[in-house]
């Protein structure tokens, strides 16, 4: 155990997952999606959950969000058990989940209207601030279907940020985007994370993406979902997906994956698993 991990373990955690388990009932019996997941995530930390699809990443994120209940174990946020969704933990999904009947500004205002103690003008100012932050100040009155995939995810990010949560939960938010758009968003997300000082849990099946974004990469293996290994990524920021160091770390993690691949998860290919 290194000195760093020792001091980190002692620090109070923003999110604390303790022995989380989840089963799903299926047609014949049940499948175990998560097995004894324990994880401490510090305030302001950027943690990536990495694993092949079907290993329970979304399930885990939904439990942290309070959208689903764990069968065993618990999730603490600031020491209090998570029992339902809360504005302190906002979620971004792979599909933007923007509302097509509202324009861009109203989509961002949706979460603000539910936040008590804000006047009309304040809400509008806040919404405009976050749309500017994600670079969409010129698209207030565009409708969802008029936006590209990348712009949709930017609006979703602005909507999630607008109610000023301490924790941002992101479930493969960039998986459906083209490489160029993704690169831009990696840069923007790192900038926003630093400026707005959020705690981010980011789910992905892309090794490079995890290395590029995370302070720490938590590797999950499937059937049932377990934590296999953790990697600290100590690279200077902002990082880019094509940095040599990022590629190097990604290779290491991929190799680690192959190492236990014979007994556990399927062998990875390329930079995806």
């Amino acid at each position: 155990m290194t000195l760093a991990s020792e001091t980190q373990a002692a620090a109070p955690s923003k999110l604390s997952l303790r022995g989380v388990e989840k089963h799903f009932r299926v047609r014949r019996g049940s499948v175990q999606a998560l097995d004894n997941i324990s994880l401490e995530i510090g305030e302001g930390e950027f943690v990536c959950l990495l694993g092949p699809s079907g290993c329970g990443k979304s399930t885990l994120l939904n439990i942290v969000a309070g959208l689903e209940r764990a069968d065993a174990g618990q999730v603490l946020c600031d020491g209090a058990p998570v029992v339902e969704p809360g504005r302190d933990r906002m979620v971004m999904f792979q599909e933007s989940a923007l509302f097509p009947w509202l324009d861009v500004l109203d989509n961002v205002l949706f979460s603000l209207r539910l936040k008590p103690g804000l006047g009309r003008r304040e809400r509008r100012e806040v919404a405009e601030f976050y749309l500017q932050l994600v670079g969409l100040e010129k698209f207030h009155h565009a409708f969802v279907h008029e936006l590209s995939g990348g712009m949709k995810q930017r609006v979703a990010l602005a909507r999630a940020l607008a109610s000023n949560p301490r924790v941002l939960l992101m479930d493969e938010p960039f998986a459906a985007l083209d490489a160029l758009t993704r690169e831009q968003l990696y840069g923007d997300l790192q900038r926003i994370w630093r400026e707005r000082r959020k705690t981010i849990v980011f789910v992905t099946h892309n090794v490079r993406e995890a290395v590029c974004l995370g302070d720490r990469v938590v590797l999950l293996s499937p059937h049932p979902g377990r934590i296999q290994e953790e990697f600290q990524i100590r690279l200077p920021r902002p990082r880019e997906i094509n940095d040599v160091d990022v590629a190097h770390h990604a290779t290491l993690i991929t190799a680690a994956l192959r190492g236990y691949g014979r007994s556990g998860p399927p062998a990875p290919q390329g930079d995806g698993i």
Binding site: V91, A97, F99, P100, L114, V144, H145
Partner: protein, 254 residues
């Protein structure tokens, strides 16, 4: 503008063809009156006020029953979508009755309400109700669950979620159902008005009926033209704005 012009030209050509057919004297003018005689009838009906009052009576019956049907059907559709028990009972009933030609309500309405406005109201409500329940129900069931989940993370709960998320998300279906309900209500009301005389008000259906009784074909055709115009107007005034809204927001081609 160009589209309006094209429509005008089309109807103009139709009128000319009609006139040509009459002039050819293939059928007796008693059966196929000239456009001019129909125009004369309509002009008289407009000037002596019968058309206006009949239209008012019919549109009022339709509007009243339709709105009542909607107000009843929307919450019922939401409820059947929300509670499986209601879906298995009321939902099933709605599915069956929706397929029933709405004219079939007329005899029942007469027996229950007699020759009264109540009978007319009942017929229109029954025409509207079932298809709007079905449409609302399937609209809600087809809302992507991710919308409600996203709303929940933003602090939306219960009634707020239903009114601000589920209902608007189901709107494309609901508008489709409203349109169908309208068509059913309109047809069954016409059937009812042609079928029974109600002394509290003569609607367009009655004018049509008396046209037949008097062998006044120009009246029959004149009223049919009015009915056609009302159908078109209703579509343009009631539904086009909704459809434009849906088209603009959802980006769906309709």
């Amino acid at each position: 503008m160009k589209r309006t012009l094209k429509a005008l030209v089309f109807f103009g050509v139709l009128l000319v063809a009609w006139q040509a057919l009459v002039a050819a004297r293939i059928w007796s003018p008693v059966l196929v009156p000239s456009p001019a005689s129909v125009g004369r009838y309509l002009w008289e009906a407009v000037t002596d006020g019968t058309l206006a009052s009949a239209t008012l009576v019919t549109v009022q019956r339709l509007g009243l029953g339709y709105v009542a049907g909607l107000l009843l059907a929307l919450p019922l559709g939401l409820l059947t979508a929300r509670f499986q028990l209601l879906a298995d009972t009321l939902g099933l009933l709605a599915l069956g009755l929706q397929a029933l030609p709405s004219v079939c309500w007329v005899p029942l309405a007469l027996l229950w309400f007699g020759q009264t406005e109540g009978a007319m109201f009942f017929v229109v409500v029954m025409g509207t109700l079932w298809s709007v329940i079905i449409a609302t129900d399937s609209g809600v069931r087809n809302v992507p669950p991710i919308f409600a989940r996203a709303a929940r993370t933003m602090g939306s709960r219960g009634l707020h979620t239903w009114l601000r998320v589920i209902l608007p998300a189901a709107l494309p279906y609901i508008v489709g159902g409203m349109k169908q309900g309208w068509a059913f209500a309109w047809r069954s009301l016409m059937a009812a008005e042609i079928y029974v005389t109600i002394l509290s008000g003569f609607g367009l259906g009655h004018l049509l009926h008396y046209g037949r009784e008097l062998h006044a074909m120009e009246q029959v055709i004149g009223i049919m033209i009015v009915l056609l115009a009302i159908g078109l107007l209703a579509d343009k005034i009631l539904f086009s704005p909704w459809e434009r809204f849906l088209h603009r927001r959802w980006g769906t081609a309709r």
